[in-house]
């Protein structure tokens, strides 16, 4: 199971280390992680995606909850959550036709195109990890020169 964990923590130094260390020491893997300060500067929110069976996810939630620096730990139901990741792809251009094709793809995915050069183009795609993976598959034949991803940010929909 792919799970999204939303973790509200004290905005203090060393906490990212403790959270990631907990995953390592308890034998869990981090699939992606994103961290940012919240509207209240006393807190940061970490969004961690991880893979495990129900029991493992339950255990990691409990271990995170037990940490004194975590204020709130939620295992988000992805059907009731808006979750997005920002990705940047630098893709090779062999000719003008490639540029047109990639622009079309980007349009279809709602992505933005940046930094168009003679032999490369950069695409910014904000989407779910699945959509990003699908876009990556389509981009592969052109030649992907570089990729950077932010990790998932997620918020539960209101009233759910």
């Amino acid at each position: 199971m792919w799970a999204i964990l939303s973790i509200l923590v004290e905005n203090k130094p060393g906490i990212l280390f403790k959270v990631t260390h907990l995953f390592r020491s308890r034998n869990f893997n981090i699939d992606s992680i994103s961290v940012g300060v919240t509207d209240n500067p006393e807190y940061s929110k970490m969004t961690i995606t991880t893979i495990g069976d129900d029991k493992q996810i339950e255990q990691i939630v409990k271990q995170l909850d037990k940490m004194i620096d975590t204020v709130k730990v939620e295992h988000l139901d992805k059907h009731k959550t808006v979750y997005r990741e920002l990705s940047l792809f630098k893709i090779k251009l062999r000719n003008a036709n490639d540029s047109m094709e990639i622009n079309k793809m980007a349009n279809a995915y709602g992505a933005k195109v940046h930094d168009v050069k003679k032999d490369s183009i950069m695409v910014e795609l904000t989407a779910t990890p699945d959509q990003i993976a699908a876009f990556e598959e389509l981009a592969k034949p052109f030649g992907i020169l570089d990729v950077a991803r932010t990790g998932v940010a997620a918020l539960q929909r209101s009233g759910e």
Binding site: F17, H21, I68
Partner: protein, 565 residues
């Protein structure tokens, strides 16, 4: 109103600790904690000097387990701090309340690989309940208040307070807060009464119910509640090794500890049970064998203060989260309200008693005059029931589990989780400081005792008269047993070569050393030690070939015991 006073950080540390009721600190000074040490001249806290920081941590641990208040140890930065890590990890593994205070290089030097700098916060993080590093003197009082609170509440554990030298030296207006808030810390949950009711129902309707009492039962002092429930529902009681002595081991319903070196009757009955009330236990692999075999055909009711323990190693059908004493109290109350009482002996209880009687009579013991069982039963006979016993780690520890019956609950302590050799002796010193009115005995092996034997200096100079009983086989006996059992008798790295002479060693420290080579001599030696006001080492030579049996081999189940042939 909180008073405000101007003082340096080191002074604030001592004042804050006095407010927490600290009377003793175990430690060793060095460059980075000198300002704290200077304050001992101006406060009412006794400093107990150790010869190694690891021992200081074990003493604080022993003190904490016995007094149920955090024991305090001091160490300097760098090697002083790394030396206490083993002691901190030991306390964490056994949920023991402790506050460790280390000196650190000045704030401006942190991260520059300064002399005696170590990133103790980074190193200790995985083995502490929490770690603080105040960066200004003004933070010290609140850090101490929070540190003690975290160490002793909920599931207890070690807290590290790492104080840079300039933070100790700087002066500030200090506020000693009565109230404070830790947003992410919720040590208590109210037990769910409905789940306790369901638990009673499950126990009453099971054919072969049993109680498994873990270390949490001792930490929360739930002795009376446990006994009331066992007697009301006629439930046999097994314990984990950490829970040894949560229930009087001379009680007719007591079967003793289960596990790798559990009592045969305890392992048998645990394997046959169909429903267990598991109290304050993490179902350690050493206690339950393979997880899959243990839970097969077993309904589990799990009570624990730590919600993260529920479902970690075993799947519980009913979970009651909360202080186990509070949970058991609710159970006692409900049993009274509903007038539930089992008076007749069920076929299960009859079977339990027969099994117990069988193994008490038929477990083959070492034939020698100084077999482990005879030595430890002699010790039991001569010790007042309120005496406190600690153990080292190894064969003697497991023999203590098998043959030293704990009669007064909460008087037996051992390094059960981390299995730290060298723990028992310094821990016995900490225990004696907490309870100077009762005899304190460290049941030791020669290998384990060797690791912290220089604590004899502390026992003698600080006038802390504990007794060390060494079951001396001149061998790292437990390793030797595994080599005999699993490695075709290839004995590598286990021979201690009759070195040192423990009687002379004790005497060289100014302690009393007695060698006992017969049961008569042992009898006299224990009596002499009990009536002496100086630390005593009793050296008892035993057969190096004696194994600890029964033995549940690692990776097997409790029903697969290796028994004496």
């Amino acid at each position: 109103m909180n008073e405000m006073e101007k003082m340096i950080g080191a002074k604030a540390l001592m004042v804050a600790m006095e407010k927490e009721g600290v009377k003793e600190v175990f430690g060793l000074p060095g460059g980075a904690n000198l300002p704290m040490y200077d304050e001992f001249a101006r406060c009412n806290i006794r400093h107990i000097l150790t010869r190694h920081e690891q021992s200081a941590a074990h003493m604080a641990d022993g003190f904490g387990r016995v007094s149920r208040k955090p024991g305090v140890c001091f160490a300097t930065s760098g090697p002083g701090a790394t030396n206490i890590l083993t002691g901190i990890a030991t306390a964490q593994a056994d949920s023991s309340p402790m506050v460790a205070v280390t000196g650190q290089v000045p704030v401006a030097m942190i991260g520059r690989d300064a002399f005696q700098e170590s990133d103790i916060i980074g190193m200790a993080n995985p083995v502490v309940k929490y770690a603080f590093q105040p960066r200004t003197a003004a933070e010290v009082p609140e850090v101490v208040r929070k540190g003690f609170f975290i160490a002793e509440t909920g599931r207890p554990g070690p807290v590290l307070i790492d104080i840079p030298k300039d933070v100790q030296q700087n002066e500030s207006e200090m506020i000693f807060p009565d109230e404070f808030r830790i947003r992410g810390y919720h040590p208590w949950a109210d037990p769910d009464i409905a789940n306790v009711e369901r638990a009673i129902d499950m126990l009453v309707h099971s054919e072969k119910p049993i109680i498994l009492a873990g270390g949490g039962t001792i930490i929360s002092s739930a002795f009376a509640e446990l006994q009331a429930i066992a007697e009301t529902l006629m439930l046999p009681v097994v314990t984990t090794f950490k829970g040894k002595g949560a229930f009087p081991e001379n009680h007719p319903l007591s079967l003793g500890p289960i596990g790798m070196h559990g009592h045969a009757e305890a392992n048998k009955m645990m394997s046959e049970a169909d429903c267990v009330l598991a109290i304050g236990t993490r179902f350690s692999d050493r206690s339950v064998g393979t997880f899959e075999a243990f839970e097969k055909g077993l309904k589990i009711i799990h009570m624990d203060v730590d919600p993260a323990e529920i479902g970690k190693n075993q799947t519980a059908q009913i979970a009651v989260v909360g202080d186990v004493r509070a949970s058991l109290r609710i159970m006692v109350k409900l049993l009274l309200q509903k007038s539930i009482k089992k008076s007749e002996e069920s076929p299960w209880i009859k079977h339990v008693k027969e099994t117990k009687a069988y193994w008490r009579e038929n477990l083959k013991l070492h034939p020698g005059e100084l077999g482990a069982a005879k030595i430890l039963r002699k010790l039991r006979d001569l010790l007042p029931k309120e005496s406190i016993v600690t153990t080292e780690v190894g064969q003697h520890q497991m023999w203590a589990s098998l043959f030293y019956d704990v009669i007064q609950p909460g008087t037996f302590f051992s390094s059960t989780g981390l299995g730290t050799m060298g723990w028992g002796f310094p821990a016995s010193i900490g225990a004696k400081v907490a309870r100077p009115d009762v005899p304190v005995v460290d049941i030791a092996g020669d290998g384990s005792f060797s690791m912290t034997e220089n604590s004899l200096a502390t026992a003698v100079l600080e006038d802390i008269p504990v007794i060390v009983l060494i079951l001396n086989n001149s061998t790292l006996g437990m390793v030797a047993q595994w080599q005999r059992t699993f490695y075709d008798r290839r004995m590598i790295g286990v021979d201690q070569g009759h070195c040192p002479d423990y009687v002379k060693l004790a005497e060289s420290y100014g302690a009393q050393g007695i060698r006992a080579q017969s049961m008569d001599e042992l009898d006299k030696a224990i009596k002499t030690a009990l009536s002496s006001d100086v630390a005593t080492v009793i050296d008892v030579p035993i057969d190096p070939e004696e194994d600890v049996l029964p033995f549940v081999a690692p990776g097997t189940s409790l029903s697969d015991m290796i028994l004496p042939s």
